[in-house]
């Protein structure tokens, strides 16, 4: 396997594996937020705001993986 093929494989693995954790995390955040909204519908606005923030934090890990994948693919 030559270097170019390894690069492609590395990029795919980077984003593929790097998306697992944030995916699970975002799922957990979403489920807990839904639960909270179900228990306390009056607080839905606050919960939603904080949910989006938390999702953004979890998502940034995936973005780092995307950066690595882009670097591998295009540099």
């Amino acid at each position: 396997m030559d270097a170019e093929a390894m690069k492609q494989l590395g990029a795919a693995l980077a984003i593929g594996l790097g998306a697992i954790g944030p995916g699970i995390g975002i799922g957990l955040i979403g489920s807990k937020a839904m639960e909270a909204m179900g228990r306390n519908p009056e607080a839905a606005g606050t919960v939603q705001t904080n949910m989006i923030l938390s999702i953004a934090f979890a998502e940034s890990i995936a973005i780092f993986a995307l950066v690595i994948a882009l670097l591998l693919k295009f540099v």
């Binding site: 606050t46 989006i52 923030l53 953004a56 940034s60 780092f64 995307l66 882009l70 295009f74 540099v75």
Partner: protein, 444 residues
């Protein structure tokens, strides 16, 4: 014979209004009857005619004296009896295919009726199907042209006039125009564009007050500006023509021949340098001015005139830098120079001293990583969305990208909201005291 009669029936302007909606059906039936057998045809047709006339009776007062009396007589109510009579007659004359044929003919007639009733819906469906088929067989769909950042529009002009820069100017103009239009004739009871803008502003004012409390007045202009700029630049990438209108540019002659050895390598290397500026350590000589795909397409390459500004790292990095600078600024303004004790601290007793010092270093690192996550979150989302749209358009032109357009509209909005809210939270976090809740802050 059947189709002949049906065609004549549809074309004849005199018969159509008199016959009503189901006239073609009756005509079809009669035609089929006539087609059954040479010997029984006349009997069958006349029988059907008689049946129809007898059953309909006074329901059909307007009997037009034309060549085919069956067609003229049959009103809406005559369909069912006519079908019954026809089927009975068909079985009588022992022609099995004749029993099947009326149903089929009736379906096509119903289809034409439906087309006549609401042509717009049928036009929509037909267009969709034609587009679907066309999309699969469309020849020479251009391959998705992945460019990481903006490219200089003018081949010999200044390097900093990139297509994303140009689009940023357009976005600015749109925003200024929006502001002018919204505030041109302000009324106490808003309407139209003023109403829309007020709604938006009120929503974000509520958000700012909810998160920042009394300091919302200070942060609000920043976050509102950031939100408007980001959402408009996110959505510009979805306008047809952005990214697809452009021209072929001659590859630069002074490119080093070493880069030409591997065409794809040269292309990607050149593009990344343009996209990432100094973040990626590449020589500025090898940036995007030098011919992507120069070796492939006879020395020219395509440069789009417009490109979504947030699909270029330059804009998102600039926004992140500004935001994080303002975070420090607000922090210093609220807390004085004690703000920096968040990063360099030796407070505490005993070994807590070192732990706090280490936490300060972590704070410093997290402050820097926020710049990266801010800029790459927005850039990655919008750029990935553009690639997804281009790939879907490549796989199945016209129809396949449509759901992804919806998705990208949503993603553009959510990313603008996330950027705005994170900026707001960081602003308000920096202005709060560092002693009580320094360990509770989020690390991104």
């Amino acid at each position: 014979m059947a189709s002949d009669e049906q065609g004549r029936d549809e074309l004849d302007p005199i018969e159509a209004p008199v016959a009503g909606e189901s006239a073609p059906t009756a005509a079809e039936l009669a035609a089929e009857m006539a087609a059954v057998d040479a010997a029984d045809a006349a009997k069958a047709a006349s029988a059907a005619e008689l049946d129809v006339a007898a059953i309909v009776g006074d329901a059909a007062p307007a009997v037009a004296p034309v060549a085919e009396p069956v067609v003229a007589v049959a009103p809406t109510a005559a369909v069912a009896p006519a079908v019954v009579a026809a089927s009975v007659l068909a079985t009588d004359t022992a022609a099995p295919e004749a029993a099947v044929a009326p149903a089929k003919a009736g379906m096509t007639t119903r289809l034409t009726e439906s087309v006549k009733r609401n042509p717009s819906r049928w036009a929509l469906w037909t267009t969709l199907i034609v587009l679907l088929v066309l999309g699969f067989f469309w020849p020479n769909v251009p391959q998705p042209h992945v460019v990481l950042g903006g490219e200089p529009v003018l081949p010999n002009g200044p390097r900093w006039i990139t297509n994303s820069m140009l689009t940023t100017f357009v976005v600015d103009a749109v925003l200024i125009l929006l502001a002018l239009l919204a505030t041109a004739r302000m009324k106490l009871i808003p309407s139209g564009i003023q109403n829309f803008v007020e709604m938006m502003v009120e929503y974000f004012w509520g958000l700012a007050e909810q998160i920042a409390g009394k300091a919302a007045r200070t942060y609000f202009p920043w976050i509102m500006t950031i939100f408007l700029l980001i959402i408009v630049s996110n959505w510009t990438g979805l306008i047809p023509g952005v990214g697809s209108i452009g021209w072929e540019v001659q590859g630069a002659a002074h490119e080093e021949p070493a880069l030409h050895e591997d065409a794809t390598g040269a292309r990607f290397e050149g593009q990344l340098a343009m996209a990432n500026g100094s973040l990626i350590l590449l020589a500025p000589e090898s940036s995007a001015v030098e011919a992507p795909a120069a070796a492939e397409e006879g020395g020219t390459y395509f440069v789009p005139l417009f490109r979504a500004p947030s699909a270029d790292l330059n804009l998102t990095l600039a926004l992140a830098l500004i935001t994080m600078f303002m975070v420090q600024f607000f922090g210093v303004r609220a807390l004085g120079f004690s703000y920096f004790r968040k990063f360099f601290t030796f407070s505490g007793k005993g070994y807590m001293r070192f732990i706090n010092a280490f936490v300060g270093i972590l704070e410093l690192i997290s402050e820097i990583s926020r710049i990266i996550s801010f800029s790459f979150r927005l850039y990655g989302n919008i750029f990935a969305g553009e690639i997804v749209l281009a790939t879907m358009a490549f796989l199945g032109a016209f129809l396949l990208p449509m759901p992804f357009y919806m998705l990208e509209l949503f993603v553009g909005f959510v990313q603008a909201l996330v950027f705005t809210m994170l900026a707001l939270v960081f602003f308000s976090m920096a202005t709060q005291g560092h002693h009580d809740d320094s360990h509770a802050e989020a690390h991104s």
